[in-house]
């Protein structure tokens, strides 16, 4: 096969590309330039936009003896990922930009360009498994539960998965690092990336202040009593406890959490932990990792990256899904994705619009 290996400059994508070469594929490396103004040097933080990363990716391609190119996707990334991220926060939601990048950039813009240029598939260093099933290729969790990235790939459609390769899904991370060292790849000891790549200093609040400005507003409790002030609703996420700086203690003296964010009135509502409990999630823009699954069925659902799977029933239609949790869960933020699993297999995903508590309603 002619394989396009997306090489971020990190250890995972380098080993993924190496395994594709070993498997006998005709591999070409591409590094995606996602930032219009790459940082010349950065310490500590890691991401996918720096000069150092494009250099590391190129050196890995050199070591593998494969052609290597840099593709400028900064305009697509700005529109589809960065502006989406800002707009979501402006609307009081909590987006997941890595998921958007997979959906719109890596497995859309890059895949489309690669297929048109004569490649058969895109390979990445994501930890997830592709399994051939009765209805085509299925997306499964990685064997390393700590590294499993099936959640951020949950937005991919069956058609996208059919042209994707995840060569690391069967390996624990430690093995990937050891393999990189054994192969003589210079990135073997490079730290993992954790930050949002377009916010290299990790200060999301400051980034959003620059984009959205600051605007003072009220922090209120459930009955509307003002209990504090804030300088921008975008600083908050549903379920957040820290950073509220409330002047007035709760009547029962217990910690309070963000329950709701209203961007229109610039108001943040807080309350006790139990008020965060929800058991019904309404989510829109569904995508299916295999055949569409309309109707009512049992599943487990993951509501945030690295979250625990929760037992649930799903009511699915063309417009979206309603997820009825078996037990109430806490701190589920609109804007995040629900990814629906059948055991280890990803069935589909949707973006959370709202939550409710049936018992309380």
């Amino acid at each position: 096969m002619k394989v396009l290996a997306a090489m971020s400059g990190g250890v995972d994508s380098a080993v993924a590309a190496a395994r594709m070469v070993d498997a006998g594929h005709d591999v070409t490396g591409v590094h995606l330039a996602l930032s219009r103004n790459p940082q010349s040097f950065r310490t500590g933080a890691r991401g996918c936009c720096s000069l150092e990363d494009s250099h590391d990716a190129r050196r890995a391609a050199d070591a593998l003896g494969i052609p290597f190119y840099v593709w400028d996707l900064s305009e697509e990334f700005r529109v589809d990922v960065v502006e989406d991220f800002i707009a979501e926060y402006r609307a009081g939601r909590t987006p997941n930009p890595c998921l958007r990048c997979n959906e719109s950039i890596k497995f859309s813009a890059v895949l489309a360009r690669g297929l048109a240029l004569g490649f058969d598939a895109v390979a990445t260093g994501h930890y997830a498994r592709l399994v051939q099933g009765p209805d085509g290729v299925e997306l499964h969790r990685a064997v390393d539960p700590d590294k499993d990235q099936s959640y951020v790939l949950g937005v991919l459609t069956a058609e996208q998965l059919a042209h994707s390769l995840f060569p690391l899904g069967d390996s624990p991370k430690s093995q990937v690092r050891a393999e990189a060292a054994a192969r003589g790849l210079t990135v073997a000891s490079k730290p993992d990336s954790h930050d949002i790549c377009f916010i290299p200093d990790g200060d999301t609040a400051a980034f959003l202040d620059r984009e959205l400005g600051t605007a003072e507003g009220a922090i209120v409790d459930a009955d509307g009593t003002e209990v504090g002030r804030h300088d921008g609703a975008h600083h908050f996420t549903v379920g957040q406890r820290r950073g509220l700086h409330l002047g007035i203690p709760a009547p029962d003296g217990r910690p309070r959490y963000v329950l709701d964010i209203s961007p229109v009135t610039n108001t943040v509502t807080v309350g006790p932990h139990e008020a965060l409990a929800v058991d019904t999630i309404t989510a829109g823009r569904p995508s299916w990792a295999g055949p569409k699954r309309p109707g009512r069925w049992r599943a487990s659902v993951q509501v945030r990256a690295h979250g625990e799977p929760l037992g649930c029933s799903v009511e699915a239609s063309d417009d979206g899904v309603r997820v009825l949790l078996d037990a109430a869960a806490h701190g589920i933020a609109p804007g995040q994705a629900v990814v629906l699993y059948d055991q280890d297999r990803v069935v589909g995903s949707a973006t959370i619009d709202s939550t409710a508590h049936r018992a309380a309603a």
Binding site: T28, P38, P67, V70, D80, E103, F107, S108, L111, A112
Partner: protein
């Protein structure tokens, strides 16, 4: 034994190996100068084209910006064509930061500077304030041969120094420094098949750009730094060969160029950029409706080397300022590739290109704007 060969010594040293190195270096200087129509004392060795360009323009401006002996009014202005190599194009912000007045000379749609416009840009008060004017001899992207004699004449009337980046001229078109009338010309070894890492700035007697790096005062105090005799020997051998075989190579390149252009004529929406005067060794073509990057990838995979404008440090290709200066729309500039012929290129190479091009072009056109999946 190596020390006595003169290839590894320090030509500034006084002992025997130093003398041997100096002799090798000076013999190389004489050979290069003779091949280029210059006197040996007019040749300043450099590390290559970038340094030569910077030394010529930045050094001349530093030497002449302020009033001084023989320079009653000072010359704060630099005139650069809009199609210079990055070695000069990217010098502009540094010149401006240091207080220079930088004007850019436009080019016609075929990428050639108009001699009348050139004369106008150096007439009157502007000319009297100009320290140095620079126009590259042969453009590296379009192959356009520029009216450098007109530059030399206009500069002489204005009292400005004239410089030409001749990196792509030597070995490709007839080059004679003395006959050109230029004050300064930049050349480099690796563009004529010599080693990477050495070049020369030709400096007419009486012209003295200020140094831009400081040290041991080698090369008449204009360019400090220990020189590598072994590179100078390679430079001399390459330039002598390239100049001697110019007519033979040029005749072959003209045939290849015609063959390539004839082949391209049968492809849809392919627009060669053909300057009125052009180097025979280069063909610059717009493949409308595709990204040149994509076509380059496909041709590379098929064993054909082509080039796009240039790339930034991270490796992202930049839209060519040269093509934009010639008035091309951004889209057309981004769809443009160039093919260069070398000492070894033959008919079979052109035929290979013409064989793989139709399919590559079709694929590259399909790739542009392609979308997949649920991209919103």
């Amino acid at each position: 034994m190596w020390a006595r060969s003169g290839l590894v010594g320090n030509a500034s040293s006084l002992h025997a190996s130093g003398r041997a190195a100096r002799r090798v270096l000076e013999e190389a200087r004489e050979e290069v100068a003779a091949a280029l129509g210059a006197h040996p004392t007019e040749l300043v060795f450099t590390s290559g084209g970038t340094e030569g360009d910077n030394l010529a323009v930045h050094g001349s401006w530093i030497a002449r910006r302020a009033a001084g002996p023989g320079e009653p009014h000072g010359r704060p202005r630099v005139l650069l064509s809009s199609i210079e190599h990055h070695a000069l194009h990217d010098l502009v912000p540094a010149l401006v930061r240091d207080g220079a007045v930088v004007d850019r000379l436009p080019v016609r749609p075929d990428g050639i500077a108009d001699p009348a416009v050139l004369a106008g840009a150096l007439a009157g008060a502007a000319g009297r304030e100009t320290a140095v004017a620079s126009l590259m001899w042969v453009n590296n992207e379009t192959g356009a041969v520029q009216p450098v004699q007109a530059l030399a004449e206009a500069c002489r009337s204005a009292g400005a120094w004239s410089h030409s980046d001749a990196v792509q001229a030597v070995g490709h078109v007839p080059f004679d420094f003395a006959a050109s009338g230029l004050d300064l010309a930049t050349v480099t070894a690796h563009k004529v098949g010599g080693p990477v890492g050495i070049g020369a700035l030709l400096v007419r007697r009486g012209v003295s750009p200020a140094p831009i790096v400081f040290g041991g005062g080698q090369e008449r105090g204009i360019r400090s730094g220990t020189l590598a005799p072994v590179l100078a020997v390679g430079f001399a051998a390459a330039v002598v060969e390239a100049v001697a075989r110019l007519e033979e190579h040029a005749a072959r390149w003209r045939r290849l160029r015609t063959r390539l252009l004839d082949g391209l004529a049968g492809l849809p929406d392919v627009r060669p950029h053909l300057p009125e005067t052009a180097s025979p060794s280069l063909v610059n073509v717009a493949f409308l409706g595709c990204e040149a990057d994509d076509l380059l990838l496909l041709l590379d995979a098929a064993g054909v080397d082509a080039s796009v404008g240039s790339a930034c440090t991270a490796g992202v290709s930049r839209t060519s300022h040269v093509l934009l200066a010639a008035g091309l729309a951004e889209d057309e500039a981004r769809s443009t590739l160039r093919f260069s012929f070398g000492a070894e290129t033959g008919e079979a190479d052109v035929d290979t290109l013409l064989r793989v091009l139709p399919e590559a072009l079709e694929r590259a056109r399909r790739a542009r704007g392609a979308t997949f999946g649920s991209r919103r």
